[in-house]
């Protein structure tokens, strides 16, 4: 028996937005019968770039149906630019979590969304252009690498849970391990982060924060003509100042919370609070 949350069961038994949108603006068709689950997502986008309707048809288990239903609820009335930020973790969170073996159902939701948006924009999905690693389930190397990075996967088993790759004949296990090792830079950092000491002196904190800012944050900001400077560290409060293009950027608050704080919590100390120095 799977441990499904009440919300998963509720969305499975009473799925929202089943069917196909008439004259859809975009169609995302992912998965296959052979794979055991498939999702056809159709979306209607108005002149303001807002998704005004979304419907799904899904072949699959309870969590696949619930993930599809959740996805349509999450993207309705959202701007396409907002909807495209939805990750598979968001879908799983919306449902109060999924059993780890079932995470691939949420990945299928995200893939269908991306495919539908790409179709709406008349673009080709880059993920499909990778090289097939898992022949049983038709999973490309790009998809695997993306899952490793986005969901911070640390084992071949986790790759299988999220992408299904390796869940069939198992012949691609070696390749999956290689992909895991190639992307091990991230992995090593995670491991180091795991070992972070419970207590740090302020000096240690400052040093570590500067290191992470230099390596992880500044290169990205500088590409956009911006920069960031560490002003002060007071306990868990990290004061930073944005420079250059960042100062006039409307998204600067998001950058501080979503990018800087997230990264510092991940790699330095998970209690840190980042604020902009006034």
């Amino acid at each position: 028996m799977w441990e499904y949350t009440d919300k998963v069961q509720e969305h499975f038994l009473n799925p929202r937005n089943v069917g196909e949108v008439d004259n859809p603006s975009g169609v995302g068709d992912v998965g296959s019968l052979a794979c055991g689950d498939a999702l056809k997502l159709t979306i209607k986008v108005d002149d303001n770039d807002t998704i005004v309707d979304a419907k799904f048809k899904t072949f699959g288990c309870a969590s696949a149906i619930a993930s599809s239903s959740a996805l349509t609820e999450m993207i309705k009335d959202k701007k396409v630019s907002e909807a495209e930020k939805i990750t598979n973790e968001d879908i799983a969170d919306f449902l109060g979590g999924l059993p780890k073996e079932k995470m691939h159902c949420s990945v299928m939701g995200r893939e269908a969304l991306e495919a539908a948006i790409a179709d709406y924009r008349g673009m080709i999905l880059p993920m499909a252009e990778g090289e097939i690693v898992c022949e049983c389930f038709g999973v490309t190397d790009l998809e695997v690498v993306r899952a490793i990075k986005e969901s911070k996967l640390r084992s071949v088993e986790e790759i299988t849970n999220f992408t299904k790759a390796g869940g069939g004949c198992g012949k691609c296990e070696g390749k999956l391990r290689e992909l895991l090792n190639e992307n091990v830079a991230d992995l090593a950092e995670l491991k180091r982060a795991d070992k972070k000491p419970e207590r740090m002196t302020t000096l240690q904190k400052i040093k570590k924060i500067e290191e992470v800012l230099d390596r992880e944050i500044k290169p990205g900001l500088r590409q956009d003509g911006g920069d960031i400077e560490l002003i002060d560290v007071d306990g868990d409060f990290v004061l930073v100042s944005l420079r250059g293009a960042c100062t006039s950027c409307a998204k600067s608050q998001t950058t501080i919370k979503e990018v800087v704080e997230k990264k510092l919590r991940e790699l330095v100390l998970d209690t840190l609070i980042v604020e902009e120095a006034k």
């Binding site: 069961q9 038994l13 089943v18 019968l33 055991g36 056809k40 072949f59 288990c61 299988t160 869940g167």
Partner: protein, 396 residues
């Protein structure tokens, strides 16, 4: 979502069965007053051995064996491992095993491990099955070689109920001097078995598949068959299986075997009629549904039916709302990502394999239950098909 005992419509008897009230009754004294060790010298313990003796006779009678040919184990899986590993040890120069592609994991995984863990020194032939799930006897006859240590082939398949001609296969093996084991966990109590008239050397059976408790099994070892124990230890089971006996469960199993012998006819008449009614009802009321497995060479209680273009776990969860218990060969229910190895070996197309449901009845099922299930399933399948991107509609 919990269900209250008694409310369930239990059609999953190939997974496990209800313990018969008559079985519970004979077990109770051994869980209370008669707690002695049957190996003890004192009468208090010694009288417990009487219970074991009776149980051994009851089991032997059901399968047409001598009581001395029965050893009690902890489960069907232990019996399977014991038989195969013993055969490999007594004929250490032989490295070949013959089995099928549709075995229960108890044998399937054991053979995979024997191939891998011994550095592929053991060679395994896995016999093919046809679309009906039947074996090609010519392929089997050709597979028997000088090097073959043991044949292990299930009597009846747990997923489809398909019955293999194990008695004929055992005769062929005997002619070639090869030991023959059959996993009869699904067959015992459902079809007549008479080991005296067969050439079968080892047979496994399991208590919880025939209304005895879980955690007790039997290995039949034909008298005179060379044997090496799996569990070394005390002199229990005449030195053939160490470990203090699970007395209460063994006594229960004995009674269950007695009941099974009494109810064998009912199983093959009333239960079979219920199964047929269920099967016909579903196949005629649900478009694009089909039976998996041979129509006649099949256990009287089992019907494995595929509903195309829908997925098994979804079907089961909807059935669960109506308290209907069954199993599926779909990938999502197995914990792996691939559908049943049995259905795939039979060449069941993916459109159908993912949507397969196994209904397995018992003497406790009623006609009302069958009618209820036949009434509910079509609407469940229809609601899921409306959602399926592959459903082409009924007219195609």
């Amino acid at each position: 979502m919990k269900t209250s005992p008694g409310d369930e419509i239990y059609m999953d008897n190939n997974a496990t069965t209800k313990v018969a009230p008559e079985v519970v009754e004979v077990m109770m004294p051994y869980l209370t007053d008669y707690y002695g060790n049957p190996s003890s010298m004192h009468v208090f313990g010694g009288q417990v051995a009487e219970g074991l003796k009776t149980a051994r006779e009851q089991v032997a009678r059901l399968v047409g064996a001598d009581p001395e040919e029965i050893i009690f184990t902890s489960c069907g899986t232990e019996s399977d491992s014991t038989a195969v590993l013993s055969a490999l040890q007594v004929s250490a120069d032989k490295r070949h095993i013959i089995t099928t592609r549709v075995e229960h994991p108890a044998i399937k995984t054991l053979c995979e491990n024997l191939e891998a863990l011994t550095g592929h020194k053991h060679r395994v032939t896995r016999l093919k099955v046809d679309a009906d799930g039947m074996i090609d006897m010519d392929e089997y006859a050709k597979a028997l070689t000088e090097d073959t240590a043991i044949v292990s082939i299930m009597w009846a398949n747990n997923e489809t109920g398909v019955i293999f001609p194990v008695e004929e296969m055992a005769r062929l093996a005997k002619e070639r001097g090869v030991l023959f084991h059959t996993d009869a966990v699904q067959a015992v109590g459902k079809i007549p078995i008479n080991l005296k008239e067969s050439a079968i050397d080892f047979l496994s059976l399991s208590g919880h598949k025939l209304h005895a408790p879980k955690g007790v099994g039997v290995l039949y070892i034909r008298r005179g068959t060379p044997f090496v124990p799996f569990l070394a230890g005390g002199h229990q089971e005449k030195g053939r299986r160490g470990g203090t006996e699970n007395v209460a469960s063994i006594v229960g199993l004995g009674r269950a075997c007695e009941l099974a012998a009494e109810k064998l006819e009912e199983e093959n008449t009333r239960v079979k009629a219920l199964r047929d009614k269920l099967e016909h009802g579903l196949l005629s009321n649900v478009p694009r549904s089909m039976l998996n497995g041979h129509t006649t060479e099949r256990l009287p209680n089992t019907a494995n039916i595929s509903f195309e273009y829908v997925e098994g776990e979804s079907i089961l969860l909807h059935m669960n709302r109506h308290n209907i218990c069954a199993s599926s060969g779909s990938a999502c229910t197995s914990g792996s990502l691939e559908p049943s190895h049995v259905l795939r070996a039979m060449g069941v197309p993916f459109t159908a394999a993912h949507g397969s449901i196994r209904f397995s009845l018992s003497v406790y099922n009623t006609e009302e239950e069958v009618d209820f299930v036949v009434g509910k399933i079509p609407e469940i399948i229809e609601s899921l098909r409306k959602m399926s991107p592959f459903w082409p509609g009924e007219e195609t």
